[in-house]
């Protein structure tokens, strides 16, 4: 049996990729996708623990997370649409009128 650490490591790598993606990518959609990636890494973690703790709780949580992610996506995409309408771009760095 594959030990838990493998799954957890995979999840951690996914999470790190997601987090780095948010920082590196300038396209809002890509950034948002990276956030989704982070959430899914968490989901993987939950499932791993759930499996190794012999509980179903963790798996149920994943459903909650997915629901929340969907809601976030709805709001987020709406905002992205608003941004692209306003600036004709998806470059997040354009949203930079307020600083300091």
């Amino acid at each position: 049996m594959v030990p838990a650490t493998h799954y957890l490591a995979l999840a951690a790598i996914l999470f790190a990729i997601g987090a780095l993606g948010v920082i590196i990518r300038r396209n809002v959609i890509t950034m948002f996708m990276c956030v989704e990636l982070m959430l899914n890494a968490v989901n993987l973690t939950f499932i791993t623990f759930s499996r190794f703790l012999n509980q179903v709780d963790g798996q149920i949580f994943v459903f909650f997370v997915m629901t929340v992610a969907a809601a976030e996506a709805a709001v987020g995409l709406a905002l992205i649409v608003l941004l692209s309408r306003r600036t004709d771009t998806l470059d997040v760095d354009q949203a930079n009128t307020m600083k300091w």
Partner: protein, 649 residues
Amino acid sequence: MLENYWVLILIPLFGFAINGIFGRRFSRQVIAWLSCSTVGLSFLICLLTFWEFIQLPVDKRTISRSLFTWIQSGNLVSEFSFLLDPLSMVMILVVTGVGFLIHVYSVEYMAGEEGYYRYFSYLNLFIFMMSVLVLADNYLLMFVGWEGVGLCSYLLIGYYFEKRSAGDAAKKAFIVNRIGDVGFIIGIFLIFRQFGSLEYLTVFRTVSDQFPEPTAGFGVLGAITLLLFIGATGKSAQIPLYVWLPDAMEGPTPVSALIHAATMVTAGVYMIARSAPLYTRAPETLFIVAAVGISTALLAALIATAQRDIKKVLAYSTISQLGYMFLAVGVGAFSAGIFHLMTHAFFKALLFLGSGSVILALHHEQDLMKMGGLRKYLRVTFYTMWIATLAIAGVPLFSGFFSKEEILWKAYSSPLGNGAFWFVGVLVAGLTAFYMFRLIFLVFYGADRFEEAHHESTPHSPTEPSSLIKVPFMILAFFSIVAGFVGLPKYLGTNRLEGFLAPSFRYMPEPASVEEHGHFSESHLALIAILVTFFGIAAAYQLYIRDRQITERLANRFSLLYQLIWRKFFVDEIYDWMLVRSIRGFSRKILWENIDVNVIDGLVNGTASLMQTWSHALKRIQSGYARVYATWILGGAILIFLYYYLTSF
């Protein structure tokens, strides 16, 4: 009157208050009447008291009265209370007596001045303060009078306040006095610490218990007495604090007569005499007192020989005579000092009043070189001034002769004295005769130099003041002649004054040796002094009557010396440069503009602007880029991770 003698102090205060508050609405007569009558009443009470006082047996002649507690804090008590003993009796007589005469003189002298009420209320206040000084029964209360007379002196010197020089002189007088006062007050601190009391009699009793014999070496008594003496140098214009007195002549002339000749300036002598039980136990200080006294006497006499302002001559003369008095108390001859103090009060007041009428007659001309020939016009002034000059010069049988001889003899013969003191003393006597006669000759003899020098608006010749003003002249002249007879030297009779004052000088230590040393007798020395005096008079006659050219030739010949004396040895300039300017510059440039504004405020404002700088730096974090913000969050997360990785895993 003995029971309630203290009312004599309060009466002038009443005059001061009424004149000071309501005087502006009063007519001149009312002001003058009020002022003179209060002092006159005081004098009257004083005389009555004196009459009853001398009836008392000698050992009962110490009467103290307490009015109320002034300051009490823990074991420190200072009562508002008065002590009448022979010493203060003599002083208060002089103060109220001469004070009254000068009040009367002022009525007319000041008639033309603005602020009449101001003048008289100050004068009354002065009499009050001087009485407090003289009659106080503890050091702290004496200090009240001490500073109080300084204040009156300040107010009166600055009487012509629109004149810048008057303001400067007033300020200078007060400040120089204050420097002395600091010494005085520290002396008081030390007295309290040492004796646990400030009351004279308690202090003296304690000191005679603690130190039955004069101390060897400079101990606590040395410190106390020296500090008190610093106070005295300020008030009585001795080296190094004499510089204010010549400038004080900016005040009205009667003020110079009363305050800066007869009474206030002698307070230092009085104080030392009062503290005789302390001083006699500190021979080192006494030597310093005598040395300072005689040096001042010499220095001032030298300066006086070259002054052109009539009042300045008299001022330096006063300093010089005060030097004599300090010489006297410095050699332990307290009653001789008081004796000279008294006689000096009469003849110096008279000299000042005389110079006042000269000045008035010449419409405020004070330059000796612009006078002359006045004897024709000012008869009374002329004669009375002659008498006073003879007195101050020490011509035999005039009052000054007796008191001065007494001092010179004691300077030579007392255990604390020596030949050098005597020698310089005699020299000063000669100088005194010289400069006083120089003054007389320049003012009253020779050609009339005032008319061409003075403005044409006064075609009529100088005139004497009215009769009211002549009364004080007469009285003072009378006393200038006869006052000396209360203290005849041994070879002529008995010294009544010394006997009278003796009860005030109890608590003295056992004298080290009763025998008076020296090889000469009193009368021989007196003869030498008389000769020197006449030599001084003769020199003045030679220079200022016989041949005026010699003066100029001499001045040219010894121009350096002459300049030195004429410019008063540059003492004022040195003080100004050393103290006034440097302190002012230091305060402005270094303390205020640098330490305050640059350093401290700079630190404070610097912190503020540093904060602003940081603020501007910190807000740069807020770059506005969402991705940068995410980096911060991630960075924070990584830091937390690292922390746990290092500490807990």
